[in-house]
């Protein structure tokens, strides 16, 4: 019992960096669950992933100018992410190229450019930090950034919730009413980019989407209502962060992949045991009703 307590609590009690990492991840989970749910509902999971990779050249230019400084890399990443989202949207709207294809083209360009730029100045270690994250280096400034992002995301999603839902399931409806639905689409993309920027220091640009998306995907095996999906995803994201950090601490493994893998376990568990469309229900379907 004592061993359990010491292995669960001592890492956080003894180390400031573990406490900061935990708080950062919990704040991240709180904000990003709603974003993740809408990424799924908009069928944009893979586009979100592409967007996360697209942060890299911006972060790399920030790195080039300011070294491994969080504000510089965050601003760079945010600008690059927004630019990619806007350009892909514009390309898709004004040419016959579909949005997923233009996202893929944009992100491949961005990833290649990013790796080139980091390699210009930094070492392989720097590149690994940017690609896979280094949550154990979270400082007070990053905590403020993550907390501000989480607050802004929750308020922003509350503000655009209704038009975003309508845009998701019936895109022409708002347009026929003369409302510019695309404004809400871009506001949502901006919030998504903001969350990925907040996540990339902890999880790296390659896996920034992990805490956003995996819990939301897992939640879709338990419920199909927008709000409850976010509410189910939240504790799973928080638990993934806790488990991932502890595993990373005790086994000296990189924290980003540990957290994302923990979230994957929740996904696989939900896929097997969930109450909707899960493997369990496929193998042993419950008896049907009379009417």
């Amino acid at each position: 019992m004592e061993f359990l307590a010491s292995s669960l609590f001592d890492p956080f009690a003894d180390n400031g960096f573990m406490r900061r990492a935990l708080v950062a991840c919990l704040a991240l989970s709180a904000g990003s669950c709603t974003v993740g749910v809408f990424l799924i509902l908009r069928r944009m999971s893979l586009m979100g992933d592409a967007l996360a990779h697209a942060l890299l050249p911006g972060a790399a230019i920030g790195f080039l100018l300011g070294g491994l400084s969080l504000p510089a890399m965050s601003v760079g990443g945010f600008v690059a992410g927004i630019a990619t989202a806007l350009l892909s949207g514009v390309v898709a709207r004004f040419t016959s190229l579909r949005e997923d294809a233009s996202f893929a083209a944009a992100y491949l360009t961005a990833l290649a450019a990013g790796v080139m730029i980091v390699s210009l100045k930094g070492s392989t270690v720097d590149l690994m930090h940017i690609l896979f994250g280094s949550i154990l280096a979270v400082d007070d400034l990053s905590l403020v950034l993550v907390a501000a992002t989480a607050s802004l995301t929750l308020l922003g999603m509350a503000a655009i919730y209704r038009p975003l839902v309508v845009e998701c399931f019936n895109p022409g409806f708002l347009a026929a009413l003369g409302v510019r639905g695309s404004v809400y689409h871009y506001a949502f993309l901006a919030l998504a980019v903001l969350n990925m920027v907040a996540a990339f220091q902890a999880l790296g640009t390659l896996m920034a989407l992990g805490l956003l998306l995996l819990p939301a995907v897992a939640a879709s095996f338990w419920t199909r209502q927008v709000v409850t999906m976010a509410l189910v995803a939240l504790p799973m994201a928080a638990a993934s962060a806790l488990i991932g950090l502890l595993v990373s601490y005790h086994s000296s493994l990189p924290s980003g992949p540990a957290i994302v893998l923990a979230a994957s376990l929740f996904y696989i568990g939900s896929l097997l045991l969930g109450t909707r469309d899960s493997v369990r229900l496929r193998i042993a379907p419950p008896a049907h009703l009379r009417a």
Binding site: R162, F169, L177
Partner: protein
């Protein structure tokens, strides 16, 4: 009879090829107008142009100031993601968008009206059901309930009775008739000529270009229908640039 909508030389293109070509027509106010034509004749595109959903390459759609905010559009079913997790009541309540907007709360009066609209389309007791559990016919009824709530003066319906059984069609046609009695303008894309003849006094016959427009029985003559059917469905890849001055009749 004044016009609820005036189409002035409307051309809509996909990839420079016209889907709707130099169409001039007037949609009379307070009358049910059917838009008829073969597949690929540009009927849905014309409706989208009226609703402002596609870019018009040439010409314009004129809507009088007073009814500009009073337009409702029913998309083809494939344009809606029916698997989206939203309840039928919430979907129907969207018909009140102009009053409650993005932030307003739907009050008891709004919910009451929504429930009444759902009863009017025969969806009593479906309020809490997720949209995904509705059949095609029930879903169409729900979309009509939303339109009832929109209280629009100009109602655009794109193939509302596709894949809908006879009973549902009859119920929904009764609603169209009610709109007609309320002196609302209904424009409806239809394939069934019997339905047109018995419910729509006015018709537009389209085959990319306007073949005929006017009272339904004068428009849908055998000769006109034959001309519409003769429309080439495929694009002419070698087509020259269209200069309106030289347009053949």
């Amino acid at each position: 009879m004044s016009a609820a909508l005036r189409l002035v030389d409307v051309t809509v293109t996909y990839d420079r090829h016209p889907a709707v070509h130099h169409v001039c027509a007037e949609i009379p106010e307070g009358v049910c107008t059917a838009v008829v034509g073969p597949n690929g004749a540009g009927k849905s595109t014309l409706l989208k142009a009226m609703a402002g959903l596609v870019r018009i390459a040439r010409g314009r759609v004129e809507i009088p100031e007073r009814s500009q905010d009073k337009l409702a559009y029913l998309p083809q079913q494939s344009d809606v993601d029916r698997s989206f997790p939203i309840s039928v009541l919430d979907m129907v309540l969207l018909g009140r968008w102009r009053d409650i907007g993005a932030f307003g709360a739907a009050g008891p009066a709004d919910i009451d009206r929504a429930i009444h609209a759902m009863e009017a389309v025969g969806l009593h007791g479906f309020e809490r059901r997720p949209l995904a559990t509705l059949s095609a016919g029930q879903f169409q009824r729900a979309l009509f309930a939303r339109m009832l709530l929109q209280d629009a003066e100009i109602i655009l319906l794109d193939e509302p009775f596709n894949a809908i059984d006879m009973r549902t069609t009859a119920d929904l046609l009764a609603l169209v008739r009610r709109w007609h009695e309320d002196k609302r303008t209904v424009v409806c894309v239809l394939h069934d000529l019997e339905q047109v003849r018995s419910h729509f006094p006015h018709a537009l016959l389209l085959a990319r270009e306007l073949i005929a427009a006017g009272p339904a029985e004068e428009t849908l003559t055998a000769a006109n229908l034959l001309r519409a059917r003769a429309m080439a469905e495929s694009w002419d890849e070698t087509a020259a640039i269209c200069h309106p001055g030289e347009m053949a009749a």
